[in-house]
């Protein structure tokens, strides 16, 4: 029997959702200050309105939903997924007020893409937007990469037991430290350290490439945010093709590969366990699948004679594939070049890389390296069982911070999530095809959205049917939160209607 949520359940959910939305409003102060510094007064008003709306929602729910109850598991999942929806609706306000979006749906698409570190966008005339709005786009993706719940945990929550449920609801399950609020702060410590070093490196490189100091600093900061969060937003419509520089590409590759690694791996390295990089199942899996997909794409491009020399060929293939595999979405080729130059095999190789994706508990999306590792180990274990004597006990283990033995429960969970991802990839590809797009291109774009990558071959555009925009928003959300908390939110609404 389904139990309808009681008033106190709504209050708990409202209270914590409100807190997170206050966090989103506070985050908007950064682009507001940016616009004030650069004298972008119309954009200043956009952010004042948007901050005010967040605060009205946040403090309004605080007043209406007074309760001393802590979160239980279902509350945590509903708050995590529900707050992403509210944060998207309210976070879209600066985009829409800027006049650069065709509709509110387009604005919401861009904001969900930012939070989920996808990087697809529908904003038009990007090359003429305000610094404040560009700061907001990149801040969305940087904050979304760490998790907007993580932000709230860091700054707005006291260490309640329910806080951990919120954290898990956002698709993270690694506990770096015993206390979840300390874990959230550890994630920020790692991220902010990388922010300072990465921005400095990119800004210095930008100045060496001919950028003015202020532009070099802003571009350095924004490209860092896009890279570290594996978001893929860039300040110009040319994406990272803008810089025409091997050194800029190398620095950005190092940042987005680091950003795609598990925070537990970062923390292990941070605390002195450097060998973990070589032993971890996710880094091993990533190295193997990246090498294979680069090899396939390089072979196809060499056969087609797209690039004039081996260096250009490898540079382009490695950059796009590494970007796709880490679910970053940076690109040094035009979007349509995936179709007009790379051809079907290049498209398929990139699609596979995006589908596999980055590491669990990282800023990236996709099926994840750890699941590929677990499935591979389980497959090998099954073969060993088949060829061993009946009574033999065949065990298998993998290394992820510590040695973990494979059991049926772990393999089943891994398979469930993998099948959910594959179904979502299939659904987006089929809907794209039904809307009149080529199947391969629909699959590329659908996988890109659902794996939170953001590479585009030209399907995503402001003229795309609304049904595809809505589906991609849902796919980005489901992919980022890894399904369970979104299903919990759906279940919450069903019990509201059908429960007793």
């Amino acid at each position: 029997m389904l139990l309808r949520p009681r008033l106190d359940d709504h209050r708990v959910i409202g209270k914590y959702t409100g807190k997170i939305i206050i966090g989103v409003g506070l985050l908007m102060v950064i682009p507001l200050v940016t616009s004030i510094i650069f004298g972008e007064w119309d954009t200043v008003l956009d952010f004042v309105i948007s901050i005010a709306l967040c605060m009205i929602f946040g403090f309004g729910t605080q007043i209406l939903c007074r309760t001393d109850r802590d979160l239980n598991w279902s509350h945590g999942l509903v708050v995590a997924s529900g707050s992403w929806v509210v944060a998207t609706i309210l976070g879209a306000m600066p985009h829409w007020l800027s006049g650069h979006e065709g509709s509110y749906l387009d604005a919401m698409f861009d904001v969900m893409s930012g939070y989920t570190t996808t990087g697809l966008y529908l904003l038009q005339d990007l090359d003429h937007i305000a610094h404040g709005l560009n700061m907001w786009r990149h801040l969305l993706t940087y904050a979304g990469g760490q998790g907007i719940v993580v932000i709230a945990l860091t700054f707005l929550f006291k260490g309640t037991a329910g806080a951990y449920k919120l954290y898990v609801g956002e698709g993270k399950d690694e506990r770096l430290l015993p206390n979840v609020v300390h874990t959230a702060r550890a994630i920020w410590l790692v991220s902010l350290t990388w922010l300072v070093i990465g921005t400095a490196l990119l800004a210095i490189t930008g100045m060496a490439l001919g950028q003015e100091p202020v532009r070099a600093l802003l571009h350095g900061l924004w490209v860092f945010m896009g890279a570290w969060s594996t978001g893929g937003f860039a300040p110009q419509s040319y994406n990272t093709l803008w810089y025409h520089s091997l050194s800029y590409e190398v620095v950005s590759i190092v940042i987005f590969i680091a950003g795609s690694f598990n925070f537990a791996l970062h923390w292990a390295v941070w605390t002195g366990k450097r060998k973990e990089i070589l032993k971890n199942v996710e880094t091993v899996s990533f190295a193997i699948t990246l090498s294979l997909t680069v090899l396939i794409a390089t072979f196809a491009l060499a056969k087609a004679g797209v690039y004039p020399d081996a260096m250009s060929l490898f540079r382009k293939a490695f950059y796009q594939l590494a970007s796709g595999h880490t679910t970053t979405g940076f690109s040094t080729i035009y979007a349509r070049a995936f179709v007009t130059q790379w051809g079907p095999i290049g498209l398929v190789a990139t699609t596979i890389a995006m589908a596999i994706g980055a590491s669990a508990c990282s800023t990236g999306g996709g099926i994840k390296g750890i699941r590929m590792g677990v499935m591979f180990k389980a497959f090998i274990q099954d073969i060993r069982k088949a060829v061993s004597p009946e009574r033999a006990i065949v065990s298998a283990k993998f290394h992820h911070v510590r040695d973990v033995f494979l059991d049926d429960g772990l393999v089943r969970t891994t398979m469930t999530i993998t099948i959910a991802y594959l179904s979502l990839y299939g659904l987006t590809a089929i809907v794209g095809t039904l809307c009149g797009y080529d199947f391969l291109q629909s699959a590329f774009e659908g996988v890109s959205a659902a794996s939170n990558t953001g590479l585009s071959c030209g399907v995503t555009s402001p003229t795309m049917p609304d049904v595809m925009k809505a589906l991609y928003i849902a796919a980005m959300w489901l992919g980022r939160l890894e399904f369970m908390s979104v299903f919990a939110l759906g279940g919450y609404f069903v019990t509201m209607v059908r429960g007793r």
Partner: protein
């Protein structure tokens, strides 16, 4: 009709109303000034690779000088005459070409397109490379000449009175709720104590 069906119907109706609101009408976008637009060059790389072309559009961002040479980015999209900040109707994404040319030619550009500027409209002549060997496979134009067709200008950042009124009104309401929340919280705590 069951309660679930009714709820789904109401939610769908609200979603349609919410999404339909705020749609901005698309106008007739400014067409590319070029015989072969950047979109055509990208769509048919083999056809144009290595050919001499003339390419015109708005210079955006900045000139990135590398020794005696420089990179410019020239957009021939719907915003090359007037951008969205000046009131141009939405006409899709930005599109353009990266141009590699002598730095002294880049010096002729006065305004680069951004939020506060509509950039100079220039025309360059040179060779189109679908995948340039000199630049790591980038798609670019190696230009040998540049002429300024129309000098750009500063774009005035106007604030709308209605927006200002909304900003003030909503900010006051937000502050009011914040104070009420703090006051109420303190009141409850005081009462409990």
């Amino acid at each position: 009709m069951s309660r679930l069906s009714r709820s789904i119907a109401v939610a769908a109706l609200l979603a349609v109303l919410a999404l339909g609101a705020g749609c901005r009408a698309a106008g007739t976008p400014e067409p590319s000034p070029n015989e072969h637009s950047s979109t055509e060059l990208i769509e048919s790389p083999k056809e144009f690779d290595g050919s001499e072309i003339a390419f015109a559009g708005e210079v955006i961002g900045e000139a990135m000088k590398r020794g005696d040479m420089a990179w410019l980015h020239i957009n021939d999209d719907a915003y090359y005459v007037k951008n969205v900040e000046e009131g141009a109707q939405l006409g899709g994404y930005n599109t353009g070409m990266a141009v590699w040319l002598p730095a002294d030619l880049a010096d002729r550009v006065t305004y680069f397109g951004d939020y506060k500027h509509e950039g100079d409209i220039v025309e360059v002549e040179g060779v189109y490379n679908a995948a340039c060997g000199e630049h790591g496979g980038d798609t670019d134009i190696h230009a040998t000449s540049l002429s300024v067709v129309e000098t750009g200008h500063v774009v005035v950042d106007k604030t709308h009175p209605a927006k200002t009124a909304w900003a003030i009104g909503l900010a006051l309401l937000a502050v009011g709720l914040c104070v009420a929340d703090r006051f109420w919280l303190r009141g409850v705590r005081g009462h409990r104590a």
